[in-house]
C-alpha cells in the first residue's frame, strides 16, 4: 500500500515565523501535491511537483514556496506565517498526472497565532 506521511499532525506557530511542513511518500511516485483544506471551500491546490527540483504553482501559491530535493520528499514552506494561513494542509502523491489516483497523507493542522 502507498504510504504518505506528514511530519506533524498539529503545529502552532507565531505570526512571522518561517514554517516547514514535510511530506514523504514511499511508492516512488513522480508527482506530489500540497493542498490547503478550509471548511466550505474543499481542497485548493497550493503547489505541485512532477519531478525532482520541478514545481508548478497551483491555484493559491501566494505566501508559500516548496522544495523537492529528493523524489520521495516534498516540503511546503511558509516564509512568514500569517494568521490567514491557519488551516489544514494535506500532501498527496500520484504515479502520473490527472487520471491517476492521488494518495493523501493524514494532514497537518496549522494554527498561526
Amino acid at each position: 500500500d502507498v504510504k504518505v506521511t506528514q511530519s506533524s499532525r498539529y503545529l502552532v506557530k507565531r505570526t512571522g515565523e518561517k514554517v516547514f511542513l514535510e511530506c514523504v511518500q514511499d511508492m516512488d511516485h513522480e508527482n506530489m501535491f500540497w493542498y490547503r483544506q478550509d471548511p466550505g471551500l474543499g481542497l485548493r491546490l497550493i503547489y505541485f511537483s512532477y519531478d525532482v527540483k520541478m514545481k508548478e504553482k497551483g491555484d493559491i501559491p501566494e505566501g508559500y514556496s516548496v522544495s523537492r530535493e529528493k523524489k520521495e520528499r516534498f516540503s511546503l514552506i511558509l516564509e512568514s506565517a500569517s494568521t490567514n494561513q491557519t488551516s489544514m494542509y494535506l500532501c498527496a502523491s500520484s504515479l502520473d498526472r490527472g487520471r491517476e489516483t492521488q494518495y493523501f497523507g493524514p494532514g497537518t493542522r496549522l494554527l498561526v497565532l
Partner: protein
C-alpha cells in the same frame, strides 16, 4: 473555468437508509471523475473513479457512482448506510495534471 459543485453541505440519513450525494462538474472535455472520503482527523481515501467505459462505477465500501454526461453529474450512491459511513465526501475532476475538488458534503448517520 473548470469547477465542481456539491450542492449539499450537510446530509443526515438514518442507518440502513439509502444515500445519494450529488456532484455536478463543469469541464469541456471528457472528464476524469473521482469520489474521495475523509473520516474525522484523517486524510482522503479514494472511493471510486471514472475515466471511460461503463458509466456505472463500483467502488469500495459498497459505494457506486453514475456518470451522466447530459447532466454533467457524477452522483454517489449507497443502498444501505452504516454508522461508519459518517464522514465528509469530496467529488473531484481531473484537469490536466491537477484535481479540482468540490466543497464537500458532510454525511451524518443517525441510529
Amino acid at each position: 473555468a473548470q469547477s465542481v459543485t456539491q450542492p449539499d453541505i450537510h446530509i443526515t440519513v438514518s442507518e440502513g437508509a439509502s444515500l445519494e450525494l450529488r456532484c455536478n462538474y463543469s469541464y469541456g472535455a471528457t472528464p476524469y471523475l473521482f469520489w474521495y472520503v475523509q473520516s474525522p482527523g484523517q486524510g482522503l481515501q479514494l472511493l471510486l473513479k471514472y475515466f471511460s467505459g461503463d458509466t456505472l462505477v463500483q467502488g469500495i465500501k459498497g459505494f457506486e457512482a453514475e456518470f451522466k454526461r447530459s447532466q454533467s453529474s457524477f452522483n454517489l450512491r449507497k443502498p444501505s448506510v452504516h454508522w461508519s459511513d459518517a464522514a465528509e465526501y469530496f467529488c473531484a475532476v481531473g484537469v490536466g495534471n491537477k484535481l479540482v475538488f468540490g466543497a464537500g458534503t458532510i454525511l451524518r448517520v443517525k441510529s
